[in-house]
Amino acid sequence: MSGSKPDILWSPHHPDRYVICDSELGLYRIGPVGSSAETKAGTLPLSEETAATLLAINSDTPYMKCVAWYPKHEPECLLAVGQANGRVVLTSLGQSHNSTCKELVGKEFVPKHARQCNTLAWNPVDSNLLAAGLDKHRADFSVLIWDISSKFSPEASVASEKIRLSSVDLDSSTVVTKPLYELGQNDACLSLCWLLRDPKLLLAGMHRNLAIFDLRNTSQKTFVNTKAIQGVTVDPHFHDRVASFFEGQVAIWDLRKFEKPVLTLTEQPKPLTKCAEDMELKLQGNKQSVVYSGIKNIVKTSSGTTESRRCWSGSDRQTDVPRYLSEERSLALRLCGWISRGPDIDVEIFLRTLEQEREWERAAAVALFNLDIRRAIQILNKGATAEKGDLNLNVVAMALSGYTDEKSSLWREMCSSLRLQLKNPYLCVMFAFLTSEPGTYDGVLYESSVAVRDRVAFACMFLSDAQLPRYIDKLTNEMKEAGNLEGILLTGLTKDGVDLMESYVDRTGDVQTASFCMLKGSPGDVLKDPRVQCWIENYRNLLDAWRFWHKRAEFDIHRGKLDPSSKPLAQVFVSCNFCGKSISYSCSAMPHQGRGFSQYGVSGSPTKSKVTSCPGCRKPLPRCALCLMNMGTPVSNCPGTGKSDEKVDLTRENKLAQFNNWFTWCHNCRHGGHAGHMLSWFRDHTECPVSACTCKCMQLDTTGNLVPSDSS
């Protein structure tokens, strides 16, 4: 019946439930999708992993336009519905055993003149108050605040007018016609939100302005003309921050400075919500720069592979498995972590590490791939007898020890088929290796539960020069498609790697990993890739938005070290009032690199002489407004000389002390002084310390009152 969009909202009591308000009310619960075979009736698939189940329907109320959920826990099934004729009806969805609920359900709040109800908002603190926003009427108010506990009383209604209600309505307790407050006229009310910082204040999106009504004084209202009047909502973490929208634009407001929006956003790109740990850095480990090119490139340039047929360790019996060796393959094995230095393929150290970490099956497989069956059996036995070990490993060891290279043996036949029933993938591939024809190792290579590095190492050992690049290519594409960061091993930090990272970021939004990884790709063309720049900027913005300013500054420093081109040139200078020259003039004739011109106010360590006058004209530098000492430039801290190694590497304590001495000033009144003095002054005062200056310096900076989330 309704041509407009349905209303949808989350339950305030159950994080997995929501209600859709259309021609009827439907309560849904979100849960994981059941097994693919079954699709229960009433289940709506929402994504690959989640589906919504319909829990309850309420079609009692017609002409519904908007809905609001009762904020308190009891009764939790209570909803208010706004109708096309302006009536607000209380109804329930789901179980209602509570007696207060029964009293309230069915109550109707009827305005004097019928017009559409656009929005409803329950007061979060005084839950008897329900605000309704209606379309305009020439003789009526657009914002009505109902008290849901009030009863119909004919005396209280509009004087001398008979209320014409149907006989059903005349049951006196269920219809209320007199609102507690009536606010706002001449404009329709399109959205409402109670202010969290003061539950007597109501923010309303009227047709052409945002208005704040105060229930304590209904004749006054604060308002600001704007187009962004829909969907007003208060930031639950930041009670002074409010958002509203109109068409494609979102406006963010600061309630303390309400005249203009603080920020306007248009077509915001995909929001970043996740910040996963950068586990993949381990892959980088301690590689040298040439290694960053990835195994894919390494194996392409093969300086010559020798094929060898090694013996099984501990026996003279030769395998019919050819092994391939070359410098590049050894390098690749190193990257995979199987071997450390040296041309010898010695995996013993790796095996011991795996044993220590109780990765028995994996260690056994690696040992086996190195043609050391006894070692593999030994490892499996250890695993079986270890604390909380798996006794079945002994059985596996037994099976292993029966190895025979007889192609038509029962052992081979059984192992080849039964291995698929082994739960652990490494055990599975062990038997695949032993029962495969040489050169046809798909059973090992495409076992996706085996770590990528192990499969690649295996390939580097057993695939010929013709087969190896093809496999690496295929695997790389698989990784790129899935956005699996294990593939960095293959792509390295090259353009390929950026493609892989892009796929990963598309999937996860994890710009933290992307930024840190790519920064290590010091070849300039990787860093110059616009995608990489985009991830870095997004990460920085994310840290800023979460008020992790110190972390972001540390990241900038880290980035500046790895990519000097990212440091912006200084754009402003402190110049002397008298001669107009930069006061760091003595340090260099050219503009200096690096941020932070305020460091030039530092009074340096006691051993260096302090310069308290302009280097250009010798006139004195300004004085601190509080301690009346001249500011000064230490001769030592001038990066402009270009000899950055000479820079004093200040320890953390020194740095903190130094900041207190930094010169800072208000951009409005131009007064200032030592940072430490200014900070402590403004803790107790609002006005500038200079007499006769009434500037409220600290309050001009809206972010000045924000506390960083990471106090270092």
Partner: protein, 245 residues
């Protein structure tokens, strides 16, 4: 309800004498050229009184009574004609475009003047003319037009735009096809009963003015917005000579 055309202001009123259409420039382009349509000589601008703009004492809705006193009377003192259009939602005061400087000058002492530009409300710039205006003469205002009052009672009502399609044929029937023996009274010359129907669609809001019998006879329950008090209106016709200055 999305309109396929850009007309944002439309009003059609049927009276015994004629049909009056008030339409904005976009809507005017849609109207066909015809000898049956006579167009007024001027373009008109719509004014709307908004209360509560910082004025603390305004907590009551502004009604026509207040508007008459504070807007129409001062304008009349300056010989400025107005055209009033009242709807279910609000009251519009239309003034001729050429009168705008005088209107602004007259009203700026009592009111803050605002313009709506691209949906944003901005301060209206004073057109800068402050010299050469005649000081208002405070003369007594005699009633010079005859007044008459038909017997039928009227409803000022509205409806949910989403339900418009379902009543469109009804409306058209009432507006255009119900000349004839529908009323129990034999002829329309019976002065106690008047044919009057007004339909407005202004910025997406619908307003209807029709007599009570029509509402009850023709419209199904629950479609029309009515006041909870069921209030009805009595009409006073200002007749005689042409109105305005």
């Amino acid at each position: 309800m999305s309109l396929p055309f850009r007309c944002k202001f439309f009003s059609l009123t049927e009276t015994p004498e004629d049909y009056t259409i008030i339409v904005d420039e976009e809507g005017f382009k849609e109207l066909p050229q015809s000898e049956h349509i006579s167009v007024a000589d001027a373009t008109w601008l719509a004014l709307n009184v908004v209360s509560g703009g910082g004025n603390a004492s305004n907590s009551q809705p502004i009604g026509v009574t207040k508007i008459a006193k504070s807007v129409i009377a001062p304008l009349a003192d300056h010989n400025i004609s107005v055209f009033m259009l009242s709807t279910y939602q609000t009251d519009f005061i239309l003034v001729r475009e050429r009168d705008l400087p005088m209107v602004m000058h007259t009203l700026s002492s009592e009111f803050t003047l605002l313009r709506v530009v691209n949906g944003e409300t901005v301060a209206a710039h004073d057109l800068g003319v402050s010299n050469g205006f005649v000081k208002p003469k405070l003369v007594p205002r005699p009633i010079i037009h005859p007044l008459s009052s038909p017997s039928n009672m009227f409803c000022v009502t509205s409806l949910d735009p989403d339900t418009l399609p379902s009543v469109a044929t009804l409306l058209m029937d009432v507006m255009f096809y119900s000349g004839g023996p529908k009323e129990p009274a034999a002829s329309n010359e019976d002065s106690s009963h008047i044919r009057f129907f007004s339909f407005s669609l202004i910025e997406g809001y619908i307003s209807l003015v029709m007599d009570e019998q029509t509402t009850q006879r023709l419209f199904p329950n629950n479609v029309l917005f009515t006041s909870a008090s069921g209030e009805l209106w009595k009409m006073v016709r200002i007749g005689g000579q042409p109105l305005g200055f």
